[in-house]
């Protein structure tokens, strides 16, 4: 059968695909152990060392290569990502909840929201900075204008995730609560929210990671150099000359992302287990 011929060929193709996807990372990982401070961001490796990792943590004596200006930028980015995550998840849950009933113009509103993830960051960034600069005359900051554009970008993702969850949601449990006289808000808190919580976690994860790595919107909508988020700080370094410290930093941020993903996985596992336990108790009762 064709799958006997085709399947191995496709398997090989996928292997090549993975190599293509990971090739640059392997090279990046290797070069992050380049000798410092004189080793350049290319082959050959003059000597293996952890110099660039030490430099990021400020453990090396000062040299002609300035350390990456990442400390404060990282904190700003984390705060911004957190703010964005909370806001867009709340907006996403609210909007998806409203979408459970067909209302007039719902299709228009759907596209209005989804457009937020389609419009390139350059455009929303440019438009927002035009507004701030030339109409309102306000100073742009990461926590004001950039925050607004970040939410306009991540909220659609949270909205779509919640919409997908609520589409498959069994409303009869809510009805049961209401017919017992429980108030809508309490029903949402005690019945609906625990049931959609896995979806909320995914929406949060989406919003947080998208905002953390968001670059074009911040480039326009955040202010000057004293206001840089992490991607802006990285962008600033490769305008001049790149050094292996940026590679070492890439390896570290990847590890950090893995840690974040693991936390998400654990939380997800816990909430699934709890739901299963509840279901079992119901069966017994």
């Amino acid at each position: 059968m064709e799958s006997r011929v085709l399947k191995p060929i496709l398997a090989l193709y996928v292997a090549a695909f993975i190599l293509f996807l990971y090739g640059p990372f392997i090279v990046l990982g290797i070069l992050s152990f380049q000798q410092g401070p004189d080793g350049g961001p290319q082959f050959p490796i003059t000597e293996w060392s952890t110099y660039w990792y030490q430099q990021i943590f400020g453990l090396t004596p000062p040299s002609r290569i300035a350390p990456l200006p990442v400390g404060e930028a990282l904190i700003r980015s984390l705060i911004l990502a957190f703010m964005t995550m909370v806001t867009s998840t709340v907006l996403g849950v609210m909007s998806a909840q409203a979408f459970r009933r067909k209302f007039r113009g719902s299709s228009f509103v759907f596209y209005l929201i989804v457009l937020g993830m389609m419009v390139p960051g350059v455009l929303t960034g440019l438009g927002t900075s035009l507004l701030a600069n030339n109409v309102f005359g306000i100073t742009r900051h990461w926590y004001t204008t950039a925050f607004a554009t970040h939410v306009a970008y991540t909220f659609p993702f949270a909205f779509l995730v919640m919409l997908a969850i609520l589409n498959r949601f069994d409303g009869s449990v809510e009805e049961a609560a209401w017919s017992l006289g429980v108030s809508p808000w309490k029903t949402f808190r005690k019945v609906t929210f625990p049931l959609i919580f896995p979806g909320v976690l995914s929406a949060m994860l989406f919003a947080f990671t998208l905002s953390l790595d968001e670059f074009p919107r911040s480039l326009f909508a955040a202010g000057g150099t004293e206001d840089q988020t992490l991607p802006l700080a990285i962008y600033g370094t490769f305008a001049v000359e790149i050094h292996p410290n940026i590679f070492a930093f890439g390896v570290l941020t990847t590890l950090f992302s893995f840690a974040l993903l693991s936390v998400y996985g654990i939380l997800m596992g816990m909430s699934v287990r709890r739901a299963r336990k509840l279901a079992m108790q119901e069966d017994i009762a």
Partner: protein, 288 residues
């Protein structure tokens, strides 16, 4: 309690949608309207005033740099769309249809997603030591005696931009296509096979049409991101390849807000046409 009130409560009050609408109006619709408006403003060397003029528009279409950027953007978009499809479809076919075990296909999808946990800019930069004259690819090819001279066109050319973008965006093709392929009812394929259809026929008559919504969603993702790009083209072409995004960045950098806005409007129009064309093929809301 009457049925009507239960129904109202179940579906949630509709004012819940208001904050979302307001946010998108304030921070997406009005900014884009603002770009259109400012594109007709009068730009002087150091300042900009709201006196309406067509000067920036005329300047855009009179200059080879700007119109060139428009064509480069369209060209690179089409090429990257094609490469991501060619790279992505067979992979998605394997992950979504050929892999029988659920675990393996999940593992493969996770492998595809892992690179996204590295900063976008660092992923772009990682191509430099790959493609350079003394880069990994040249070293390997030289060691294998496939080439005798290092290939120089790999870095700081349009080719490097295309390679970089293809790698960064191909996963956005794989995901949606694999998802649609995974939903295909295996019985249909079995039935076709029992009736004597070969794989080619099954593929063109059943598999490909059913995966088309995934292709369109993937194409929308890739298009939107490639059209708005400027970082990859800037970093991998040594500023030789200028996309519309690059023009906007440089114009804003030199405080030429009107010109940046004209470029922004053109980018919006291109984007709108592309998305509208794709949405005509597939109704996104239906597929959810």
């Amino acid at each position: 309690m009457s049925d009507a009130t239960v129904a109202t409560k179940r579906q949630g009050p509709s004012w819940l949608i208001l904050p979302g609408i307001v946010w998108m109006a304030l921070f997406m619709v009005i900014p884009i309207a603002m770009i259109c408006y400012v594109s007709f403003w009068t730009q002087t060397t150091f300042n900009i005033s709201s006196t309406p003029t067509l000067a920036s528009w005329k300047q855009f279409f009179a200059s080879d740099t700007y119109t060139g950027a428009l064509w480069t953007t369209v060209r690179i978009w089409l090429i990257v769309l094609a490469t991501t499809f060619i790279i992505g479809y067979p992979t998605a076919l394997f992950v979504g249809l050929f892999v029988k075990s659920k675990t393996l296909s999940t593992v493969l999808l996770v492998i595809c997603v892992i690179p996204f946990w590295t900063s976008f800019l660092i992923r772009v930069l990682a191509w430099r030591p790959m493609l350079g004259k003394e880069g990994a690819i040249n070293i390997i090819l030289l060691k294998l005696h496939i080439i005798s001279q290092p290939i120089e066109v790999l870095l700081f050319t349009e080719l490097s931009v295309i390679i970089g973008m293809s790698q960064i965006y191909c996963v956005f093709m794989v995901g949606p296509i694999a998802f649609m392929l995974g939903r295909i009812d295996r019985n249909i394929i079995e039935a076709a096979r029992d009736l004597g259809a070969g794989f080619g026929r099954i593929f063109w008559k059943i598999i490909f049409p059913l995966s088309l919504p995934g292709v369109v969603v993937g194409a929308i993702f890739v298009s939107v991101m490639v059209l708005g790009e400027f970082a990859t083209s800037g970093a991998l072409s040594g500023r030789k390849v200028n996309l519309l995004g690059n023009i906007i960045v440089t114009q804003v950098g030199s405080l030429k807000w009107a010109m940046a806005s004209v470029t922004g409007v053109i980018l919006t129009v291109v984007m709108g046409m592309v998305i509208a064309a794709f949405l005509r093929i597939v109704d996104l809301k239906q597929e959810l």
